[in-house]
Symmetry: C2
Amino acid sequence: MDTKLLCLGVLSEGERSGYEIKKLFETRFRHFFVAGFGSIYPALAALAGEGYVTARAVPQAGRPDKRVYSVTEAGLDHFRERLLATAPRHKVRSEFCLLMYFAHLLPPERALAHLDTMVARWEEMLAGDLGLSAADEAALTPGQLFDLGFGRAVVGAARAYCLERRAPLAAALLDRPRAAE
Amino acid sequence: MDTKLLCLGVLSEGERSGYEIKKLFETRFRHFFVAGFGSIYPALAALAGEGYVTARAVPQAGRPDKRVYSVTEAGLDHFRERLLATAPRHKVRSEFCLLMYFAHLLPPERALAHLDTMVARWEEMLAGDLGLSAADEAALTPGQLFDLGFGRAVVGAARAYCLERRAPLAAALLDRPRAAE
DNA sequence: AGTAACATGTAACGCGTTACATGATTTG
DNA sequence: CAAATCATGTAACGCGTTACATGTTACT
């Protein structure tokens, strides 16, 4: 279970609640990892059951209690071991590419709208979590910095390619609109 | 089930056996979709059960029979409908980025080896399926051409970034090797 | 002699996604 | 007044991965 591993990893940087971990996933890891509450909460419960993390209830004014998790020594050891045993994979699953591949079966304006949607999403990412200032970057570990740059490079390339190819693609699709239904 | 959808898609370009579809996935779709036999064969069986494809046994000399599938009219309609209902998502799941993020918990040479592994894999892709000649490209639909370029742009950017950042990363990791165990 | 390629399938397991369930406070 | 945010969890379903099962031909 990868979610368990990543939870352990972020907890190695400091104690956090499940909700906070989710937020962190949405910012720092957004460009290479996604997990919902339905994965995170059970993962934390399992880690606690295995003795890799401990939970502490933190009461809050007018809010439900937070369950704040901390990694144990056994947890840190386990995390390092698992890291050493992890193979470097990098997998992409893209419905966007699928849609583009079969663009000739779609109304042209639909295909172009999909393209614009993706460009907008990528620009959001670049302006948001991937767009930190130089000052913020000074506080990062070499690895975190590497990941940040990697995200920028890859997402930036996707965006640039789509913008560059939009006009030629539009022309080609409108040239022979084989399937406007 | 996405595998079903993609199988239907490739069959819309012509009849093929499950084995051939797998080969096609490994070449044309490698950079944005992965599926094994364990997904493809059941997917084809399900599509046949729904009447979206028909199967035909092709005897072969000294080999087991091929089951060659063809898409039906209902199948083509269904495919177009499903395409129209598909949202453009683009998801990355990367153990490589995870490893880099926590590189400070790894022996530096291990982190760099992972990086080299990925560069080699990406170069293989660029030289292989993504590296067609201009003559081959003329035969592609606009969408196929777009995907090919997209793959080149994104994979190329990942490769270039890793090569560019290798030396600075190595220096930073060796500067304070916090966890050579 | 051994490995890779050709060829099809089943079954179990793991894991993630989605929907459901609940409830207070803050912001627009 | 509605929507978003904070906050935690369960359960079912879907789907993919992996391992198992079998057998021939061609190449090294």
